[in-house]
Symmetry: C2
Subunit: 185 residues, 2 copies
């Protein structure tokens, strides 16, 4: 947080009062469809993903999160309506959570947090726009290469079929891409 804003003692104390640290196990869900997403979560240690299961039964990964990232069903959280996404731990993880109401109150009392969450949301949006763009203009192989370059640590930590579902291709096709890249180099 100190990368974006400076916190005085009072603000820091108020923050500590509402942050809850939780340990979650591999395969455990912190958000599920039908339940409103009441918290945003900050990853201290571990890895999680947000995904969606389409009516046909195929699953689509919206986002991964590792150390120092934020994660939630953001639509559900922002609008305070029931979620349509799953948020699941891929490893045993430690996260810090802040509730929706607590966040709003904190922002009202300490504008510095308003600023912080504005920064987070703005960067997240700019990032998401980039992803839309890269999905529009790039081939499957290019998307894989781009992602490997940007997030090598994620590529190593998550199963290949989840990566495929994030990149918008089938696991079989990702496998073929990787084989191709391995032989041609």
């Amino acid at each position: 947080m100190s990368r974006f804003v400076d916190l005085d003692e009072e603000a820091r104390a108020a923050l500590n009062k509402i942050v809850k640290t939780r340990s979650i196990r591999r395969r455990q869900f912190i958000v599920q469809p039908g339940f409103t997403c009441t918290h945003q979560s900050h990853v201290v240690q571990g890895a999680l993903r947000v995904y969606f299961i389409s009516p046909e039964g195929t699953d689509h990964t919206i986002q991964f999160a590792i150390e120092d990232w934020w994660i939630s069903d953001f639509y559900s959280y922002v609008h305070q309506v029931p979620a349509s996404l799953y948020v699941e731990a891929l490893e045993n993880s430690t996260i810090q959570q802040i509730g929706f109401e607590d966040t709003e109150n904190l922002c009202r009392d300490f504008p510095v947090f308003e600023r912080f969450f504005r920064m987070v949301a703005q960067k997240a949006f700019a990032f998401s726009q980039r992803r839309v763009l890269s999905n529009l203009e790039k081939t499957a192989e290019e998307r894989y290469l781009e992602f490997s370059e940007l997030y090598p640590s994620i590529v190593q930590r998550v199963p290949q079929y989840m990566l495929a579902s994030y990149l918008g291709m089938t696991p079989e096709f990702l496998s073929k891409i990787r084989k191709n890249l391995a032989t041609n180099s």
Copy 2:
């Protein structure tokens, strides 16, 4: 703005002091690659789009904006680095602009604006996530139908080839989809 926050007299005056209203002509650019995007723009009247031209020369529409939407190269704006996108007026339009520095100052002086722009960014992010999802799980025809349902007014106002480039398909293919839908109903 009053949908999200209440402004007192002083805040309103400060806002009015830095907002610049501009008229722009059809085909005029308000952002171009290479130049840093110094303002965010709020559409009072008219229609604009953000797009990107790939190395191969095909163009990809990132966003449309009509009355009451915000538009900019958000990545360039947030990080204050040179833009890689075009923002172009599709009709003669009237927009209100706020500069980056002015916005930051305004937010510092009046937390209510910090709050407002946090809301805008959060909603924009949630929206963008939805789009990523729908690009992942839906076919070209489904994406077209979804968009027509959500934004019928945009479908009517923008040329079909721009819509195609927003939806991630070729103009020819969109034409065939429309023909298909017309005959089967």
